[in-house]
Amino acid sequence: MAQVAKEKNSNFSAYKILAGMREGMDPAWLAALRAKAGARFEEIDFPTTRNEEWKYTNVAPILKVPYREIFDLDADGLTVERIAPFTFVESRHSQMVFINGIYSKELSDLSGLPESAVVTSLAGMTEEQALVASRHLAAYAKYQDDAFTALNTAHIGDGALVYIPGGKIVETPVHVIFISTSEEASATHPRVLIIAGKGAMATIIESYVSTEDNVYLTNAVTEVFAAEESAITHYRLQEESEKAFHVATTQVHQERESNYVSYAFSLGAEIARHTLNVVLTDEHTDTTIDGLYVVTGKQHVDNHTTMDHSKPNCTSHQLYKGILDGKSRAVLKGKVLVREGALLTEAHQLNKNLLLSKDSSVDTKPQLEIFADDVKCSHGATVGQLEDDELFYLASRGIAPEQARALLTFGFAEDVISKIKLKSVRKQLDKTVLDKLHQSLDLE
């Protein structure tokens, strides 16, 4: 333990500097929140593999890097043109760009958003906006027992607020982009707060990318509040450098009759962990959490999801698919909790994995805990390879083995990708997945 504490002090104490730098600039409640989270971070340890929730993911390699903290914006020569590959036509005028965790007004463009949408950096909130944020920030993602979340919370200075007030429908997707550019190992703590008021509708894309193929840490926390009758579609594209570490929590709070759809793609990072918890607090909610991870080489990806049903008549669907090559490893723990009283719950969960190499492996643990009657629940997990019969079918149509493998692998991923309604996001993912597997296909 002494060693962990030492690492914590030397590698992760920048929040103290941050607190000093931001003195007097933030509302009192935010400064107090940071201080409390910092104090808590001092008290608790980072998880080890003895912790059930971290059994398959050893964070020791993440903790031993001496990270450099970045407090100021340095666009590092990035221009709107240079970041174009990270952006999407659908959200070119509704994008927030963060460079190494710091908001870049120059690279951001919010001109395509209606007045009604509040999209701002946390550091630049008006008093009125701060009041709304204060009711939700850190209200869902609990930092008391999680060192990574505590560390992130202690670092809240900048970050993204996407607030769609009640009754407003924002058709234009809002894209929040976190770009890492640092050549020295940096640690950033991106924070995103998404609030949909009663009956509001929005689409948010959250992406994590890098310009350098380098070691760095992204420790992200996103909170989503979906008020009654609201509908949120949330894309999460994790395309970090393959040497980077990515630890993230997405905590979703859904109220009565709200609809939340999440598509989480995990493609980058050497070690990636995403914890996605959805708490259904009232009746008639609908939730879809789909995901795709594609890992190669020595990559390790860990997805932990929880669907927490506590009230009757709620529906949830989960489909997570994984493609593994090289010596990569994937972990999926998907818990569906149907609490006492959550009658007529319908919850379905499926995890399918495709192993392209002998040396890749998957630990998948779907977990159904039901304490209510009259529910319709299912769960399952599969781990398979490309079948001889499938490859033969394609061969019998004149398709060469390489192409056949590419086509079948693509088809496997497409199950999830094809659900995406934003065309350029879909196209980009198609390409990224094929590139990653060193495959190419001439498809429409």
Partner: protein, 251 residues
């Protein structure tokens, strides 16, 4: 076009084809009948090059070449086509994309121009008429959620797009209702010409009412035990296989 001599093949330790002989010339239609498990699908898959089957003896000459030495995808590009008894599903890949890829592979091989999606769509629309297929099937994933009959029709659509020299249709008539049977049979008839050959594997005479074979063969325990004209199929329909089994053989 195709000369099979004394072909032997096994799967695992089990020998299934036990010295099979068959000659097929361009312009001919051959029907192969025979009881369940006699080796009909095995023959079809061995000809197409399925890796699970091991050829242990004999030879297969296709257009003057040793077919057994050619990789399965190359055989297809050389004009061998198998319509599967149980076509597989390919989720996530649209029929249109799949067919265009197959078409272009063959076009490249034949030294013809590859087609872009628009050009290919024209060709596809025209070929779809041959099997009276609805456009909705084109943008759906290959065979995914297709009914048994739709899958079979899709196989013949593939045949129509690829225009093989040697087509082996493994029970393409099984599971078809009478309308689908007529459509599929008409499709095959439209595709048959003097330069190609068709081997029909079937259990039923009714298909042969629509597609008239030049020869009918009975495959039994891995060998062709009897060959004849189309009247043989009628006799089989009437009397079953018992009268054909070689003396001393038991089912």
């Amino acid at each position: 076009m195709l000369e099979i001599r004394n072909l032997r093949a096994k799967i695992g330790d089990k020998e299934i084809l036990k010295g099979l002989n068959l000659t097929v010339r361009a312009g001919e239609i051959h029907a192969i009948m025979g009881p369940n498990g006699s080796g009909k699908s095995t023959l079809a898959k061995v000809l197409a090059g399925h890796p699970s089957y091991e050829v242990t003896g004999g030879e297969v000459i296709y257009q003057g070449k040793n077919l057994l030495e050619i990789d399965p995808d190359e055989r297809a590009r050389e004009g061998v086509f198998l319509a599967f008894q149980y076509p597989i599903e390919i989720p996530g890949v649209s029929n249109a994309n799949f067919l265009r890829m197959a078409y272009n592979e063959k076009a490249k091989h034949d030294g013809r121009d590859e087609l872009d999606p628009l050009e290919f769509d024209d060709l596809l629309q025209e070929r779809m008429k041959i099997v009276e297929m609805d456009s909705v099937f084109i943008n759906r994933s290959v065979n995914e959620g297709f009914s048994g009959g739709e899958k079979k029709r899709n196989e013949i659509l593939q045949m129509a797009v690829l225009e093989p020299k040697l087509a082996i249709l493994d029970e393409t008539d099984s599971g078809l209702d009478i309308d689908s049977l007529r459509i599929v049979a008409n499709g095959v008839n439209k595709l048959a010409n003097k330069d190609n050959a068709i081997i029909l594997v079937t259990h039923y005479q009714r298909l042969l009412n629509y597609i008239e074979p030049n020869f009918v063969h009975v495959l039994y325990k891995g060998q062709i035990v009897k060959s004849g004209g189309k009247e043989l199929a009628l006799a089989l329909e009437e009397k079953g296989y018992d009268w054909i089994k070689p003396a001393g053989a038991t089912a």
